[in-house]
Symmetry: C2
Subunit: 245 residues, 2 copies
């Protein structure tokens, strides 16, 4: 049996995001044949309770369902786990505490991608995502801890730009999703953002619908960034450890 390390993927939130993570894990891996690719195991449970509903409307917690999936991945041999959903990271500390296998935090992957694109600590970085992700400060706290200065849009600006872009992607209107995303990036750029993080699974699809030159600043595709970090881990180029270690 192969001794290559195994990337665990907690998917299903939504199910396309998990499939897209696995696709990017393949497309971004330097390989000339199947056998050069990364071993992976993916748990896709779309029945995990809705994350924004749990966060804002007193709905049931997604944590027990996520912990079950993480344990399946651990038992299957995963040496490191990626959660293919930005909003799910709001439960990061609780679910990481429930398993021994380290989870690669998506904001850490985004930070590595900022560095890869030459954006150094101290820079202003725009954060786009669902209202839940932006309002929770998920990216803000963790990027600020690395020395970046995070910026985001206010409620009215999100309602006019990033939220319609996300909604277009969700109804498969990729063509319609591009212009409002450009408008959102431009607002952040005008306030001094040296780069903009696309902190949800829909916005990277919107960004693919047009010419990235329209943004005028580097953007971080968090699905790609997460997959790149997972490949680096599998190749022994990145260490991922639990916070206590």
């Amino acid at each position: 049996m192969s001794a290559q390390p195994i990337v665990g993927i907690l998917g299903g939130m939504g199910p396309l995001a998990g499939a897209e993570f696995l696709r990017q894990l393949t497309l971004l891996c330097p390989a000339t044949r199947d056998q050069d690719h990364v071993r992976a195991v993916l748990w896709s449970d779309p029945t995990i309770p809705d994350r924004p509903a749990a966060m804002f409307d007193g709905g049931p917690s997604p944590a027990p369902g996520m912990i079950h999936g993480l344990r399946v991945l651990e038992q299957a041999g995963a040496g490191m786990i990626c959660i293919a959903c930005n909003t799910a990271h709001l439960w990061f500390d609780e679910i990481q505490a429930a398993i021994k296998t380290p989870i690669l935090h998506i904001v850490d992957a985004a930070a590595s991608d900022l560095a890869r694109q030459g954006i150094a600590a101290g820079a202003r970085v725009g954060i786009l995502g669902t209202t839940a992700t932006v309002k929770s400060g998920l990216y803000h706290q963790r990027l600020a801890a690395r020395g970046y200065a995070p910026l985001s849009l206010d409620d009215a600006e999100m309602a006019a730009t990033s939220t319609p872009s996300i909604k277009c992607v969700k109804r498969n209107d990729l063509a319609g999703s591009f212009a409002p995303l450009v408008a959102a990036v431009k607002l952040l750029k005008d306030r001094g953002a040296a780069a903009v993080v696309l902190g949800c699974t829909e916005l990277p699809l919107a960004a693919q619908a047009g010419d990235r030159a329209a943004f005028g600043v580097p953007v971080v595709d968090t699905v790609e960034a997460h997959a790149r970090a997972a490949i680096a881990w599998a190749k022994g180029e990145l260490r991922v450890a639990r916070a206590a270690e």
Copy 2:
């Protein structure tokens, strides 16, 4: 914890085919929210030895690696397993014997899709795929057992049509892959094929690169057909059992 059935997916052969299966399992499922989708667990081990090399050149058998993956899926709770690779089905009997969980044979899924498209037993059905799949008779035997009359191309015809189409897809030349696929389908249609099965993971991508009306006959996308059958199983509309049961 959810009690919804879990579809197991043996992927990695190659890794994009497994990701595409999960994508189709999502896109083809009638759903208005994440929670309506099918639960799944996917084992993606691209390090499993090459299937054509094992078949034709005395390379190491992929069976032990596949059996390991099947056991992981079984232990994770899969109630039924799909193998997201046509050629891997050449080891079907050996690997099914090693686990209790039933495997949904991809040719049975293709046969269900022929019926769905109104192609009744007795009809001539063209088979396209890799040389390994076509020469092994994988589709021929199992479709003939259901009363279909399978047809395929000879070596020179494959070398001139379906093989170049597959090669174009493998090097991401989707535009170039379409015309040779149309030529392959036309040869089979001219010999009386009432439908043509795209029996590999590349040809369905080639078929998406142009207008399907160019084929002049219904085609079976085996990735879609396999995912449709898995959804039917998860919804309780399809029974999948081991041959002995």
